[in-house]
Structures are given as C-alpha cells and as structure tokens.
Amino acid sequence: MLEHILSILIFFPALAALLGFVVNKDSIRVYGIAVAGMEFVLALVLWGAYDPSIAGMQFMERMDLIPAFGISYLLGIDGISLFIIILAAFFTFIGIATLPNLKNIKNLIITLLFLQMTMVGVFAALDAMIFYVFWELSLVPMLYIIGAWGGEKRIYASVKFFLYTFAGSLVMLIGMLFMAFFYFQATGVWSFSILEWYRLVLPENIQLWLFVAFFFGFAIKVPMFPFHTWLPYAHGQAPTIGSVILAAILLKMGTYAFVRFSLPLFPDASVYFMFPIAILAIIMVVYTAMVAYAQKDIKQVVAYSSVSHMGIIVLGTFALNVEGISGAVFLMIAHGVVSGALFMLVGVFYDRRHTKLMSDMGGLAHIMPHYATIFGIMMMASVGLPLTINFVGEFLCLLGFYQQSHIFTLLAGTAIIVGAIYMLAAFKKVFFGNVVHEENKNLPDVNKKELFGLIPLVMIVVWLGVYPKPVLGPINNSVESIVQLMHDKAVTQEAKSVIPDLTKKVVISETIIEEVR
C-alpha cells in the first residue's frame, strides 16, 4: 500500500465524495467526518513511513500519460511538501467535524472532499502538468464554497477570486510550456517532470523571462502586494470553513511553488530578483499590517494579517539560504495552523451573533472566558511569541534574510511591532472593557464541538513551538539539497556567491546537468 499511498491520499477523498452523493442527508456529516478522519490517519501513516534522513523525493509513483510530450503522472514528496499535506488533511478533518448547521450541508461536505483531492494533488505532483491541473482544479470547489455559502457579496467575491487567480495561472502555464520547450531543445526529448527540469541549466536571460512568467501565477496566489485585493473579499464573504481552508492551505500553494519551481529552476533569476521581491515583501508586511489595524471587521483583521505574514514567508524564501528557506517552509505550516485557528475563532462568534463587526463585541472576556483564553493564545502565536509555533518560522526567516541585507531585515522585522499593534488593538476591542451589548450578555462559551477543533490546534501551537524538530528536521534536510542544487546550477558569479555552497551531494535527482545552447 505504501508505494501507492500518495495516489490513495489524492483519490480516496474524491471517490468518497462521489459516493457521498448517494449517502443520506442525515448521515452525511458522520460520513464526511469518517472519510476526512481516515484521510488524516493515512496522512499520519505517510509521516510515519517517511524517512527523515533522506533529503530527496520519497514515495514516488510514475505512469506515462502522454509519452510524446513527456507528460506523466509523477508523484513524490519530500520534507517540504509532507507537512503541508498533513496539514491539509488535518484541517479538512477538523473543518468538517466542527461545521455548524448550514443549509445544503451535504453539498458542502462533498465539495470539501473534492477540494481535499486537489490540495493533496498540488503538493504531491512532480510533473508540471499534473501540478497545473490540480492547481487550477482547486479553484472550482472554492468558487462554489464562497459562491453558495458566502455572505451578501458572495458572487462578486467568488468570481473575482476565480478570475484573478486564473489569469495569473495562465501566464504560469505559458511559462511551463516554454520551460518544456527549452528542455526539448537541450535534450531532444519532451519532459514536464520537475525533477528532470532541475537538471537543466538555463542562461540567465531566459531564466529571467521564465521567472517572471511563473511569478505571476505564484504571486497572485500568495497573494503578494499589489495582487492581494481578491483576498479580503474572498475571506469577507466566505463561510468560516472556506476561510480556514483558504488561509491554512490554499495560500501556501503560492509560496510552496516558489520553493518548488522558482528557486531551483531559476537560481540566477532568483538572485537577480531577490531585492525587488524583498521590497514587495516588506510592503506586504508593513502596509497590510497597517490596513489590518484600520479594519472594523474582525475577520478582515485576520485576513489582512494573513497577507502580512505571507510577506515574511516570501522574504524567508528569497533569503536563498538554508536558514531562511527552512524558516519559510516552517512558517507556512505555522501560519496555516494559527490563521486557520483564528478564522475558526472568528466563526465561533459569528455562529452565535451573525456579525463580525468589532463594534458589536466588547467585553467578551467576561462572558466567554475560555473563548478569550484560546483566542489570546492564538493571538500571541500570531504576533510571534517565543515557544509558539510562529516564532520559530518568523525568527528563521528574518535570520536568514539578515545575511542578505541588514536594513531590509530591520524593515521587515517591524512585523513584530505592527503585528502586535493590530492584534492587541483588535483583542482589546473584542474582549476587554465592559459588555455594552445586551444581546451578548447570555452568549454561551465555546462548546464541545468547537473545542474539538480548537484544542488540538492549541496543542500543536505549543508543541511545535517548544519542540519544532520533528517538523523542522525533515524540512531542513530537503531545503539543504535544494540550496545545494541552486548553488551548483547557478551560472553567474554573483549568484554563486549569494547562494551558499554547503558542499553536500545533491540527491533530488541524478547528477547529470545539461546545458542549453
């Protein structure tokens, strides 16, 4: 079973979703929980079977699809993708388990299971075409979730989400086609295998063009400033479960793709664009943090804070050293956990009062002490308190980038100040003071179902904050081989000097490196 575990992880939820159409409406919730639970167990099995000492791809599967163009069904994971897959399985599980009573819940659960297929597929794919297919397919369930279960402006928000990200992806697709073409030129055979692309050394000017093409697809997904405005609408209109999955997993596709595609394929271009991207990242961090501070809707605060944190991830990625990239990948997990939890917490209040405006809250710590405590822990994690999960990632991202630029790190480091400002201000408005609204006086505290989702998240936040090694170790191993690959492949002297030489053997793929003429 283990040799096909990735395929099982991808298609089991999809098949179960198909079967879900014939399941009775009353038992669909149990059915969904069971399927997502099994998927989560499978993901844990995957973790258990994963060998952390190997840096390269594991559990690889291969099946030719269109041999003439070198398109194959190629799967495999390393330390970078492993934990995002586990996170996706985990969030789908607790997401379905804590769903409130919504209309058409059967369709929602089936949609979520389809969404899970696409998420796992994106992170397990090692063939660019397979990756692209899952990448685009993931838009459909989310379009449906926002459009069918969203707020007032749900149609506008979902169409905007779909078209915006889709437009970026098309540019990325053109980049992929060109990449395959260059590979064909160099070797005489077509291939869309990322691992084979890794072996290709491209001249710098071609790298630059391809980097830009890929960048559009990834940057809109992240979303990077100034391509971020679809996100507040999507979060603002999406139901809680949509926001949780969107923030925890879907955004990570963009930053993951930077690590999987941009860095190892175009090392010289990555060095060339390092500072421009760092500037965008810093704008993301500071500007969106300030915008978050101005918000009146608590969900928008969390949404903008997501963008701000993604800025740190992008910065860490483009530190181009092991510390920074490992930190960025770790922060993807950390931010997934924390922002997912924060969206769930916002949902807790929304389910009770059907409002997200902070002016409708106030003094909630008196009425819902457990809610306030969990929110407080997640808030502290979000502002990067040491011994919480976020700190490890944020610290390493900034530490990594410090090697490239002192002043940029100082500017990006203001994240810990501006982050504290909007978070503490929001917390004060929601939880402190006296209860001013009569309707709030008898609100029940978090119930068992909600705790079922929140307590594990709190535990993860503390556990991985105190002892990040089980996750950071495998990530670090895989990142080292990527950094070494980048160093070996870089053509310009500048890039060679910026990307550290770890003098380690590259184990991602075979050692033959071909040159494009």
Partner: protein, 622 residues
C-alpha cells in the same frame, strides 16, 4: 545539582498551570497556597544552588534541542553561575513574598485564581531569562515576561485605562525587542553562535565596528525592558496593574532585565567602552529626568515608578562604566527596598479604597503604624542613608563615576540623590503625617492583614542589612565579573560625606516643607510645575506625532490606497474586458447583412496589413 536547577526553574510553571486549571472559577483559596508553596520551593532550590556555586561549582545543563536549521543551532540550555544565582535569589525571594502578600491583597478579587496563574507564569519567564545559557533563550524569557506583564497590567480588563496601558507596554517593548533580535542576528552571522560561552570568547576577534553595532542593538533591547528614555512612558502607565504586580514586575525584577543583560554581556561591553559611556550617560540623564517628574506627581504609585526609573538609570551608569558588580549590587538592594515600598503603597491603597492621591491622605501614621514604619525604612534605604542598603550600593555608583573622572555624570547623580531623598520623604510626609485630610473625603483607613505585614518584614530586614555584605558580595561575583579599580581612596570619605549630606538635606527639606501638609496650590500655575506634572509633555507628543498619524495613515492606506487605487485598478482591467465584450457583441448578432459588413471590414484590414508588411519586408531586405 541538576535536579535543583530543574526544580528552581520549573516549580513556578507547575504552579501557574495548576492555577490556570481554576482560571475561570471564582476564588479558590488553595490556588494561592499552592502557587506560593511552589515559588518557595523554587527559592529553596535556588538557595541550594547558591551554596553549590559558592563552593565553586557552576551548573550547566542542556535540556534539548530547540531550533536547528542550516548551521543555526540553539538548545534549551541553562547555566547557574555567580551572576545567575544572585538573580535567581532576588527573583524567587521577592516573588515568594509577593505571592504570600497577594493572598491577602487579592482576597476579594474575583480574578484571584487567574492572578496567581499569571504571577507564577511571570516568575517562570523571569527564571528562563536569567538562567538561559544563550541569547535566544534569554529572549524567550524576555518575551515571556513581556506577555505576563501585559496580562497583569491589564488584569482588570474592564478598565479602559488598564488595557490601554497594557497594550502600550507591550508595543513599546516590542520596538526594543526588534532591536534585540537584530542584535541576535548580527551575533549569529558574525560569530556563528548565540551561546554565551562561544560569543564571549569570540567577541575579541571580530571586527570592532560589528561588535559596537551588536552592543548598541542589544542595549536598545535593554532600554525597552528597563524603560529608559525615550521608551520610558509605559512604566508609569503600567501602574494600572494590581500593586503586588508593580512591586514584583515593575520594580524588583522585570525592569531590571535590561541591566541584567548588560551585566551578562560584560565580556562584550568591556571591549567597547564608547558604548559603555553612552549607556552611562543615558543612565545618568534618566536618573535625573525621572526624579524631577517624581517631585510633583500626585499619584502614590507613579511617584514610586518614577523613582524606579531613576534608580535603573543609576544601575546603567555603573554597568556602562564597567563596574558591573556595583550595578548588580544596586540591582539587588533596590529590589528589596523598592518592592517593600510598593507593597507598603499597596497597604495604603487598600486602606484608602484604591485612592492614590497623597494629598487626600495625611496623618495615616496613627492608623497604619507598621506600614508607615516599613515604608519609612524603605525610603531611608532608597535615599541612601547609612547604614541601610541604599547607602552602600548607591554610594558606590557615585564613587565609580568619580573614579572614572566623569564629573558631569557624578554631578548629575549627586543632585539626583538629593532629589530622591526629597521626593521619597515628600511622599512619606503627605501620606502619613500632617493633618488627617482623608477625613474630609470620607475614607475609613485600616491596617492591612497581619500576615501581609509579616510577609513584608523579610524585605524590611534585607533593606536594612543587605549592604553589610558588600565585601562577601564583591568576592563572590567578581569570580566571574571583571573587578573595578577605584582610584578614589584619597577622597573616599569626602565623597561619602558629600553624598550623605545632600541625601540628608533632601530629607530635611521635605520634612520641613511638608510638615503642615501639601503646599499651596499657587505654584501649580507655574511653567516648571506644568512641565513636570505633564511628564515633559512626552506622552502627548507621542500621542500626537506617532499614535494619531499611525491611525490616520492606516485609514488612508485602507480606504484610499487599497480600495481606491490597488483594488480599483484590478476592477478597471476587468471592467475594460467586460465593456469591450459588451460593445462588440453587436458584431455577432447573427444578422446576415451586419455580418457581411464586418466581413468586408475585416478583409480590408487584413489586405492592408498584408500589403504594408510585404512592402516593409522588401524595403528591409532589398
């Protein structure tokens, strides 16, 4: 010995978690007892460790890996040496006393359990801060005490002023923490580690300008936690928290963390006297600056808070000038008498239904004799009168300044010593002596619980005798810290006399001026008074030039830039496509004659292009 280290470190967090189990419930008396007992356990373990270190045993353990990525590696490592063990003793001793005191002080508070949970968590963070064997471990404690401080300042979270002050403290500290992080980054990239033993050994070999940069950034971090100018405003506002919190966190322990950092990094700061001199100058300035604000203030706790600020300035002078042991000595002595002073103020507050204006008190000596005596002892110690603790420690700092021929620093500190004595006794006189003004306001003061007074008494004893152990203290800590050469033997007695004279002068002036109660309100209209009572207008300046612009800019970023520029241009692109489609829809109406018209138009355009291109092509080729 490792076991005692772990007991000392982890007993407080066990207490905190235990209390947290009862967090949302109304008062559960056992919570207070259990947490106090566990802190006391920590104190006992620290004492055992003190004995071990005295015998020359340095305890060093590595619990487990924390962060390892690339070449970066940092474990949870703890080390108990001479400096650490002194800090541990101070922290656990004051904490134990404050815990026991709080059982009485928080008696009627509905957040009783929550309070003890936070307070013990604070002690744990503080222990991590002082016991870590690396800079990042210290940073854990550093942020941990910050959060506990946030929780405790905003403990009465229904009060707007309390939560505001809590956020202010946290955010202002965060500004300094960024600098500290940058210092840590630079340490790692220049010396390859953040472990103390490695970096202190490595420090002399690295580029001097890099070292200076590290020194400056770490010190900016220290300025936040120790509330040095210009990051000082949070400390006075932090007095919104319950008084035991002020005693423990905002007087005895947390605010001295900055001084501790400089003392801990003595091997580094010793290599950069220019940074040290800057630290000392800033310290002297803050000492005087804070003391002037204390002169006129009409809030019992704020006066003591400014006094703390001022004393922290003294410590930085000593540390900056290389007399690290003197700084540590004053840190210790100050912890005792300042905590005592705050707890005394807590008794007064309790007696006066949380009234803090000493002008509304007066004559309380008759009803609260013990509290009054304890506070007088603390004030005498603070003023630096022989033979109390403050005399030995503060006098040494003045001597350090004089010995280094920094006469301006010495002069500043000398004047401040007079101011210190004056404002301390102004407070004593207004509160405990003179006309019983509280009667006009309808208060019915009473003495605090007996066991609260008993709990305070060890501090009173220490405030008296701590200075007598100067020689043992020096011998002990200079096994690790550099010694300081005094060049003042010829004038030593004169210096002591001059300093004692101004302190006594301050006390006598205060007694004489305030023997009949507060001064007339006439001089409140004077410029100097207005400046001082408004804290040099610094909070207003921050509010007007930092907080408000930030708020307004945030609003502009959101409503004008994000919505009207960034998002609107995205929508504009989309609308263009949409409108183009809408406008050209007519072409495809299916009407045969329209379609034919467009076909002709298209044909003409294509033909024209074809001709134009072939002409151009021939022109280029041919």
């Amino acid at each position: 010995m490792e076991m005692y280290l772990y007991i000392a470190l982890f007993a407080p967090i066990v207490g905190s978690l235990f209390a947290a189990l009862f967090g949302a419930q109304p008062k559960t008396p056992i919570v207070g007892y259990v947490t106090s007992a566990l802190i006391f356990t920590s104190l006992v373990a620290s004492t055992v460790l003190l004995g071990a270190v005295m015998d020359g045993e340095i305890v060093h353990v590595e619990l487990m890996t924390w962060i390892a990525a690339g070449d970066f590696y940092v474990p949870f490592g703890f080390q108990v040496d001479q400096v650490t063990v002194i800090m541990m003793m101070v922290v656990t001793l004051v904490s134990t006393i404050v815990h026991v005191y709080s059982i009485g002080y928080m008696d009627h508070d509905k957040g009783y359990n929550r309070f003890f949970s936070y307070l013990s968590a604070f002690v744990f963070s503080m222990m991590v801060l002082v016991m870590s064997d690396n800079l990042l471990g210290l940073f854990i404690g550093w942020e941990g005490v910050g959060v506990c401080s946030w929780l405790l300042i905003g403990f009465w979270y229904h009060k707007e002023s309390a939560t505001w002050a809590a956020n202010e403290a946290f955010i202002m500290n965060r500004i300094a923490d960024l600098a500290m992080l940058i210092g840590i980054f630079l340490t790692y990239w220049s010396m390859g580690s953040v472990q103390y033993d490695v970096i202190f050994a490595e420090a002399q070999y690295i580029d001097h300008s890099t070292l200076v940069t590290i020194g400056i950034f770490l010190f900016i971090g220290a300025m936040g936690k120790s509330a040095q100018f210009p990051l000082h405003t949070w400390l006075a506002d932090a007095m919104e928290g319950p008084t035991p919190v002020s005693a423990l966190i905002h007087a005895a322990t947390m605010v001295t963390a900055g001084v501790y950092l400089v003392i801990r990094c003595a091997p580094m700061y010793d290599l950069m006297p220019e940074v040290g001199y800057f630290i000392a100058s800033l310290g002297a300035f803050v000492a005087m600056f804070a003391a002037t604000m204390a002169l006129v203030n009409r809030d019992l706790k704020r006066i003591i808070a400014y006094s703390t600020l001022s004393q922290l300035g003294y410590m930085f002078v000593a540390a900056g000038l290389g007399a690290y042991w003197v700084a540590l000595f004053h840190l210790m002595a100050h912890a005792f008498f300042k905590a005592l002073l705050f707890l005394g103020a807590g008794n007064v507050m309790h007696a006066m239904d949380s009234e803090l204006d000493p002008v509304k008190m007066g004559g309380l000596f008759k009803v609260m004799k013990v509290t009054a005596i304890l506070m007088i002892i603390a004030s005498v110690a603070l003023a630096g009168i022989w033979p109390l603790a403050g005399f030995f420690s503060k006098d040494k700092i003045l001597e350090v300044a004089f010995s280094g021929e920094h006469y301006i620093l010495w002069g500043t500190l000398w004047v401040t010593a007079g101011l210190t004595a004056f404002y301390s006794f102004r407070l004593i006189m207004l509160t405990f002596f003179g006309e019983e003004r509280y009667k006009n306001f309808g208060f019915h003061p009473h003495e605090a619980y007996k066991y609260m007074l008993y709990a305070m008494s060890p501090l009173a004893v220490l405030a008296v005798i701590a200075g007598w152990f100067e020689h043992q203290f020096v011998d002990f800590v200079t096994q690790m810290l550099p010694t300081f050469e005094f060049h003042t033997h010829h004038v030593e007695m004169i210096l002591i006399l001059v300093t004692s004279a101004i302190a006594l002068g301050g006390i006598i002036t205060a007694i004489v001026m305030y023997r009949n109660g507060p001064l007339s309100t006439k001089w409140e209209s004077q410029f100097a008074y207005k400046v001082l009572i408004n804290q040099y207008y610094i909070p207003q300046i921050y509010e007007k030039f930092l907080v408000q612009p930030y708020r307004e800019l945030s609003d502009i970023f959101w409503k004008q830039i994000d919505m009207k520029i960034v998002d609107a241009s995205v929508d504009a692109i989309a609308t263009t496509f949409y409108n183009t489609g809408e406008a050209t829809r007519g072409m495809q109406s299916g009407n045969l004659s329209t379609m034919l018209k467009w076909m002709v138009a298209g044909l003409v355009i294509l033909l024209t292009l074809a001709v134009a291109f072939s002409v151009g092509y021939i022109a280029i080729i041919g």
